[in-house]
Symmetry: C2
Subunit: 316 residues, 2 copies
């Protein structure tokens, strides 16, 4: 099994370190946070300084997992030795890929994003099973290193996640729609509701509670996530503005909202009634394997197992 | 105790009939639905035709509760004898008040809206405890009949609800913000998410699930509710469009969303951390009692008990 070196031991990095260790990988970590380092050591993990961690990664040909916030990624990349196996768990993929291309072009990089989290942060918020049954996005760009891709898939599966292969651009566009826009709309709805004063809040029930729930998340986490995906989020916000404006126009002119409400209902049913998936095998060494994987992800499929260089997939 | 005649025995009307009967009121009902009538009779309730129900209401000076959908309200009002004690449970209050003024000006009308429901409909979906711990809005307009106001408050409290006094206009503006706009935004979000295709839906997690949940409601119910409150909903949609547009502008120009996200966070905390309420008594026979009640509702207070003509209130 490939050794795993985790840089950044907050909620996500700390959970990756725990999950990898629990799955039997040789693991060690590094973090700029003395608190997280001390807490991880107290829990029995091997935490060293960044230079020592990376030196060991080269010596053992380990997979380096960058698990620091986006603004701190560049400094970690600058410290990387050439040719290292590299992935990350940052919630936006295009900007990280751009940074790798600019700062660490010789790294053998395959991006990742485990879609899990809580509203808490830091080592103590993490747990070994944080990724159980979660989607772990892996970027399968043309030219990706298939060996490292296998490492990342293996780590994700060993952590209890399933793997959704796609590109950085498609990932960022998708999460803008289903993760970042929901936070923006929840904030807008909460503000409009509170604008109705104490009467409105005293009448608020299920629909308002559901629609504003994520507005209770820590603003700095929401901002880091949304602002880090600015370009794709703009597109999603524009889509929402267009649809909301159309609803407004229809309500004002004809008094009707059928098109808006029925489209939303159909869309929600598509979320609830996901297509039945069938098992399929993907030979990662076959020509076009990366395109096959991307197509799998684009159609709503996922990788749920890895046997040598054969991925076991569920496909619609 | 005032006898209660419920017209319309669907989810809400059927629950009012059950709750009133369970609380010991003399009750009977009428409905245009043969299925609901049969089911209510099977459950031991007294169901007669509309003319007989209203005749008995006059004879017993009962409170008539109109519990039919908004488009059917006018026909019920046309059948009303003059001077009858009248309330309703329709989810929009201004249009009902306008209809009463036009079609049944001699009714002793006080509007009501119990803020409870499920996604199901019809008699079989109702239950006696549907209103337990729910807000039951009562319109306390200037000139309202204080005796009927007491009847409606009594029915609401006996059903397990607390009473929020306000005006029809303030009610409609408030529910546009906290009940109807959430449905519109949920529909918009669901459509934007589904627009991302199977990949986006396969990555959707908590925030998208929460934000789109009510888009799963039956479209005809959502449309009846939202379109019935057209004027107030337009104002709420415009508020949302303004805030979403401002977020868009800020994201495009500076890349920042702090104002949007922080305002939403503050608003959500205002929902979660409601002010502590103190007990107070309101003498419903005192001059200005209606204004006192409206002020109570506007400040987020409620009525939780009734002792003769003294209302026990919780006030911020």
């Amino acid at each position: 099994m490939r050794s795993v070196c985790v840089v950044g031991l907050g909620l996500i990095g700390g959970s990756v370190l725990r999950a990898a260790a629990a799955a039997g990988f040789v693991t060690w970590g590094a973090t700029a946070s003395d608190d997280d380092a001390e807490a991880a050591r107290r829990d029995g993990h091997d935490v060293v300084d960044l230079a020592a961690a990376l030196e060991r990664a080269v010596a053992q040909d380990a997979l380096v997992v960058v698990a620091v916030p986006l603004p701190a990624v560049e400094n970690v990349l600058r410290a990387l030795p050439g040719g290292v196996r590299l992935t990350d768990v940052v919630s936006v993929k295009g900007p990280v890929a751009d940074l790798v291309a600019r700062v660490a072009p010789h790294a053998r990089y395959v991006g990742g994003h485990p879609m899990a989290g809580t509203s808490r942060s830091g080592w103590d918020a993490g747990r070994a099973d944080l990724f159980r049954d979660a989607a772990w996005v892996v970027t399968a760009e043309d030219g990706a290193d298939l060996d490292v891709l296998g490492d990342v898939i293996g780590l994700a599966l060993a952590s209890g996640a399933h793997v959704v292969p796609t590109t950085a651009a498609d990932h960022d566009a998708a999460v803008a729609r289903i993760s970042h826009l929901p936070h923006v709309l929840a904030a807008v709805l909460a503000s409009v509701g509170a604008g109705g004063g104490p009467l409105a809040l005293s009448l608020a029930a299920g629909s308002f509670g559901d629609g504003t729930r994520v507005a209770g998340s820590r603003p700095e986490l929401v901002l880091a996530m949304c602002e880090g995906n600015r370009a794709a989020l703009l597109g999603a916000v524009d889509d929402a503005l267009g649809r909301l404006g159309a609803a407004r126009g229809s309500l004002a002119s004809t008094g009707g909202l059928a098109k808006t409400v029925e489209a939303g209902h159909t869309a929600r049913l598509a979320l609830e009634d996901r297509p039945r998936l069938a098992e399929a095998a993907v030979d990662l060494t076959a020509p076009g394997a990366l395109a096959t994987l991307r197509d799998l992800g684009a159609r709503g499929g996922r990788v749920i197992g890895l046997n040598g260089s054969t991925a076991l997939a569920l496909t619609p």
